[in-house]
Structure formats: C-alpha cells, structure tokens
C-alpha cells in the first residue's frame, strides 16, 4: 500500500505550489487546484480504507501495516526518529474522516470565500493543515506525531488569524497557539519521560503488549506516583490542550474568529479530536500501566462536557454555541475512552468513542458549514439578527435540522448510535457517570434546538436585504454531509474499529437507548415551547436564575481567572522582576560595554583625519622613534 505516501505528499506539494505562486494566478485557479488535490487524496484514502478493511484478519485481528518508514534522525543507538506511515483501523478511519471533511470544506470555500482577499493563501493554508493532520494520524512513532502535532498547531494559528487585519482575530490566533503550545509542553515532557524509560518512540513497540520494554519503569516513581502515570498523564495534558478539555478549553470559543469553513474543518472535525486520537493511540498503555489516569481522563471529559453544555445553552453567537457544543462532544469521546476496558465487550467504550468521533466529525462539520451558510446570508453571527430563515434557505434549513437531530441523539440519525454506545459504556462504568452523561445528552438536545429554532423559526428579524439560499458550491457539501449523517449510523463500526482490532458486533442496549431518546425528545419539546415562537419563558428563566445565567453567559469567568493568574500573579510577581533584572543588570552591562567602546572611539577618532600627509607624518615619527630605539638602546 505504498500509494498511501501520496496522501501525505500531495497536499504538501499543493501547499508549496499555492504558497509560492500566491497571487500570480487567478483565485479560481488556486481554489480549483487545492480542491482537486483534496479530491484525489480523498479518493486515495477511500481506496486505502477499502483495501485495508477488506484484508483478511490475522488471528482475528487487523494487522498493523507500515508501508513506508525511513530513519530521519539518529542521535544514539536508542534515540532516533523515524518518519513513516502506520496503517491500523483508527488511522485509516481518521484518514477517511479528515480527507472527507477537508474535501467538503474545500468545495464549500469555493463559494464562501470567493470574494475574500488572500484566497490563494487560504487554500495554501488549508492544504498545509490537511497535510499536517494526515501526518499526525499516520505517525509511526510518538515523536513524528509530536512534529505533526505542532504543525497542526501552526496551521491552525495561520487559519484562525486569516483575517489578520482584524485585531480580535489576531488575538484569538495568538491565544489558540499559546494555550495549545503550553499544553504541548506537558506532551513533550511526557514523551521524554516515556522514551527515557522505554528507550523507544515507536508505537508498534510501545503498544505491542511486550512488557519487557517497560521493565525499567517497574518500581520507578516520582512524588509517590509511578513514572508511567506521570508520563501518560503529561501526554494527556497535550491532548487536553488540543482537544480543549477543561481548564484548557478557553482558546476554542475565541478561535471562531477564523473563517467559518475553517471552524468546520479544524475546530469541529479534525484538529480538536487530535487529543482523543492521541489517547486512543496510546490506549493499550493507559489501560495496562495506569488505569487511574484513564479514569481521570473520564472525569475530566465528563466535567468538561457538562461545563461546556451549560455554557452553550446561553450563548447568543451561533458559532460560539457550536464551539461549546464541540467541546461538550469531545468530552463525550474522552469519557468513552476513559470508561473503556480492553477487548471484546469491555472495550465498547473505545469503539463507541471512535464511532462518535467519526459521526461527530460529519455532523459537526455540517452544522458549522450550515452556520456559515446562514452567516453568509445575514452577515451576522448573532442569533437576534436571524429568525424565520427557513423560508429563504430551505436546503440549509433541512440539512441543519438533520445535523441537530443527529447530535441530539434521535434515531435513526448517526449521532444516536454512537452516543448510545458511549452511554451504555458509561452505565457499565458507574451508574452516576451514566446518569450524568445522559443528562448532558439532554442538554445537548436542548441547546442545539434552541439554536435551530432561533435561526430558522422564531421572530423574523428585519433584514436589510432578503436572505438567499447559498450557491451550489456551498449547498453541495451540506447535502453530502447530511446524507452521511443520515446513513453513517448504520455502519457496523464495531466490525472495523475496536480496542483490540478484533471484530465486535454492536448491539443496542434498549433500556439505555430508550431513556436517552426520551430525554432528548423532552429537551427538544422544551426547546420548541421556549423558542419556536416568541415567548417570555426564556427571559423569565434568565431573571429567575440570574446568577447562573450571568455566570454561564460569561463562560463561568474562566477567561477572567486566566487573565487574573497571568496578569496579576505571573506578570507582577515573576515577569516584572525578571524584566527589571533584564533591563537594569543584563542590559546595563551590555550598554556599559557599548558606551565605553563608543567613548574611547570618540576620543581616538581624531587620528583618522583622512589627511594623507598627517598619516605620513605619524609614520615618519614612528619610524624615527623605532630607529632611535634600535640604535641606542
């Protein structure tokens, strides 16, 4: 399966070409090149997935295939870094997800971004992002993953800051980069700790189940916690940064400053699930060497999910609602991994998490693209500027509704199947976890339909010009993704991706399914009552629970806490003294050197008068003096 290398190389070439020619070509040409390249690699990915999954299992499990691997850097016998391609069920699934969403976003952007300045730059960055994300998922070793992980961070920074003349976009880009970079510090330390003890970066060796690799970690501990827990916990911090887990979620809502298709690609479907993918990739380590960290991941995921769902209920910017909903759904995936065991029925959480990752990528991309279509029509992100749009935008309306039903967990849409599996895994872990996640699922249904009704129903806002349905290039991805959202639930996912790569037949747990569907239906009914027509209920509720409402609107003041910690504590107590030291001691020493040199040079400058005869005179004097010295002394 050597051709999988093309999947990586083509977007990189496309980035280089589009980046170099920049504005020498017409925007349409650049857009077409980017889209066609994406189309080719999408086809290649589908073909690779078909070929991979139609291979015979060996001893009941799918093989790991490494079609390409080169040694890139070798420092010592142990410390070397390879670059390669690793195909196993989750990476093949991610290839399909990333290329599909990226392809759809590329097509969509042809319509959405067409009049923007820097269209070629936009497509170049999209290609770069796709390249880095694909490199991340097929990484053969943890260090290659880290390299592409950072590349993903960079391209995300570039895309969020696409409107670089807008101060808020620049601030959001910086925030996203710094927060994720800060988390990546944990990731890097985790990698170093892990590889220091195991003497390898390679996923194949790490996850092979060979315990001799970990022999040196036995008994090694730091501050009462075993080194494996430290390493895996630190690696999870990196994942938490990219996947916007509490308390590192602050960058994601702000990242909505980027163009909407970018939000669909990066902040819904691909980059933010990198953390989930990382945990899934190292799942055999988590489950064997530190189940307590895995449980910690479950609790962090559950808390983040609840937290984000509550905030999503009161936001008025439609993209922010979707951003918080994304955080909440990623929380679901993390919980799925956290509560999972290994193999067979135990491992249903893992399978469900990956399944949810797959379906969520599709319907969340659809939601974002739908939101983009709405924004394109009314030129505003605020719910209060929308309302009653269903008459003007039938395609957007229907596809958005399908995505809302899917995320709310209504059968037969895809979200129902994946979410139901996660919930039943949670119930098996502990009833409280199950109940909490079911409650969050209900909240999800509520806020998504609040969003839906506020956009497409409710009181009609007076528009300056009549909203219109989006052009074909934008409608096509919506329809395609809606079709996927409708049918993806019927994919026998357990057949393809499970924790032990063996076959697992999904069977619905009817009691869990019934409860969650009932709760979702109740939430939707509530949303219909409150938001379908203009109603006083939301306002009344907001005044009754004014404290909670205000706190949720302000995102529970987490950003303020960050500002407080950084500005008041870190800046005042650490940065300012350091800055003083830098200015008054280090700089002063250097300035002293420079000043002395300058002073001396001013003093002796007169020698260099430019007068030839003066030079000759000095030379003659010197000669005489030397002569006298030589002759008489």
């Amino acid at each position: 399966m050597q051709y999988t290398l093309l999947i990586l190389v083509l977007p990189l070439l496309s980035f280089i070409v589009l980046g170099l020619v920049d504005s020498k070509w017409k925007p349409k040409v650049a857009g077409t090149i980017g889209t066609v390249v994406l189309g080719i690699i999408t086809a290649l990915s589908y073909f690779a997935a078909w070929e991979y999954f139609s291979m015979h299992r060996i001893a009941g499990v799918y093989e790991k295939i490494i079609p390409f691997n080169i040694e890139w850097l070798r420092f010592t016998d142990y410390l070397y870094i390879n670059l390669g391609i690793l195909l196993d069920p989750i990476s093949v699934m991610m290839l399909v997800v990333i290329t599909t969403v990226s392809f759809m976003v590329n097509i969509y952007s042809l319509g959405y971004m067409v009049n923007e300045k820097g269209f070629e730059r936009y497509y170049a960055f999209l290609s770069l992002f796709t390249f880095s994300m694909l490199g991340l998922v097929v990484a053969t070793n943890i260090f290659q993953m880290y390299i592409f992980w950072e590349l993903v961070g960079v391209s995300s920074y570039l895309l969020i800051g696409f409107y670089y003349t807008k101060p808020s976009a620049v601030a959001a880009a910086k925030k996203a980069f710094i927060v994720t970079r800060f988390a990546d510090l944990g990731f890097l330390i985790g990698i170093l700790v892990l590889s220091f003890y195991t003497k390898t970066f390679d996923f194949g060796i790490l996850t092979s189940g060979d315990t001799s690799v970990f022999a040196s970690t036995v008994g090694a501990s730091f501050m009462g916690i075993s080194v494996m827990s430290w390493a895996l916990g630190l690696i999870f911090i990196g994942g938490a940064g990219k996947s916007a887990m509490f308390p590192l979620q602050i960058w994601l809502p702000d990242a909505m400053e980027g163009p909407t298709p970018v939000s669909a690609l990066i902040h819904a479907a691909t980059m933010v699930v990198a953390g989930v993918f990382l945990v899934a990739r190292l799942f055999p380590l988590y489950i064997v060497y530190s189940p307590e960290v895995l449980h910690g991941i479950a609790y962090v995921g559950a808390f983040t999910s609840l937290f984000a769902a509550i905030i999503a209920c009161v936001q008025t910017d439609i993209k922010r609602v979707l951003a918080f909903s994304t955080i909440s759904q990623i929380g679901f995936m993390m919980v799925g991994l956290g509560v999972s065991g290994n193999g067979g029925h135990e491992g249903v959480g893992y399978m469900a998490s990956m399944f949810h990752l797959f379906t969520h990528a599709m319907f969340k991309a659809l939601l974002f693209l739908g939101a983009g279509s709405v924004i394109h029509a009314v030129h505003s992100n605020e719910m209060s500027h929308m309302g009653g749009l269903r008459k003007y935008m039938p395609i957007t309306n229907i596809t958005f509704l399908i995505a809302c039903l899917a995320i709310a967990g209504i059968p037969p849409f895809s979200g129902f199947f994946s979410k139901d599996e996660i919930l039943s895994a949670c119930y098996e872990f502990s009833p409280y976890m199950g109940a909490t996640m079911t409650f969050i699922a209900g909240l999800t249904a509520f806020y998504m339909f609040r969003l839906y009704f506020n956009i497409f129903w409710g009181k009609e806002h007076k528009h300056q010009h009549t909203p219109h349905e989006s052009p074909f290039a934008m409608a096509l991805p919506l329809v395609f993704l809606a079709a996927v959202t409708v049918f993806a639930g019927w994919i026998p996912f357990g057949h393809f991706v499970t924790s032990d790569r063996a076959n697992y037949d999904i069977h619905l747990d009817f009691s869990v399914a019934t409860i969650s569907v009932l709760i979702a239906v109740c939430s939707i009914t509530l949303a219909i009552i409150m938001y379908r027509k203009e109603s006083k209920v939301p306002k009344k509720l907001a005044t009754t629970f004014s404290g909670l409402h205000k706190a949720a609107t302000n995102r529970f003041y987490i950003d303020e806490v960050y500002i407080f910690i950084t500005k008041k504590i870190i800046f005042n107590n650490i940065s300012l003294p350091l800055a003083w030291f830098d200015r008054h001691v280090i700089d002063a020493t250097m300035n002293g050197f420079a000043g002395t040199t300058q002073w001396v040079s001013l003093k002796i400058k007169g020698f260099q008068s430019g007068q030839v005869q003066q030079y000759a005179y000095v030379f003659l004097l010197g000669t005489l003096i030397i002569t006298v010295l030589v002759l008489f002394i």
Partner: protein, 112 residues
Amino acid sequence: MDLLNNILAGQIPIEAYLGVSLIMFFAGVYGFLSRKSMLMILISIELMLNAADINFVVFNRYLFPGHLEGFYFALFTIAIAACETAVAIAIIINIYRNLTSVEVGNLDQMKE
C-alpha cells in the same frame, strides 16, 4: 680637509655620494609632508626614489666592485618608478576631474 683633498685628487669617497643621497631623500620627505599639491608630493616621492637609486649604485660600486646586481636594481627601480608615476598622474587627473583641485587637504571624503 681630507675629504676635499680626495675630491680634488679625483678620488670621490663614498661619504660624498651618501651625503648627496641623504640630502635628496630628506628633501623628498620634507616635500612630501609640507607640499599641498599632489603633483609636488609626487615629485617628492620621485626624489626619494632617486635617492635610493643612488644608494644602490654607490654601495654596489664601493662594496662589491665587479658585481652588477646594484646597477640592475637601480634600472629596475627607475622602470617601476616610471610606471608608478603614470598611474599616479592618472589618479591625480581623475581626482581633478571630480574635485577641480589637486589639493591633498581636500581629499578626506573617504574617512566617513
């Protein structure tokens, strides 16, 4: 008086030659340091070169009679001096074209 007697007797001693070349050389040094015109400075340099030539010839004549290296060297120096003068004159002409002056005191633009 010894010296004068020798000269009158047709035997010119080495000190006489060296005295001439010494005077020529320091006249050249003085001219080099005190003259403002580049042409005069060039002439001073020629004076110093010629003083050196005299020394070559004289030392060869008195210290190594029968050898010819000193004479050849003097000839060689004269040839080189001619070339050098040609180059120097060319430079001076160019400077004159640029500054309409051959005053060496005006030539300090290059120090900045």
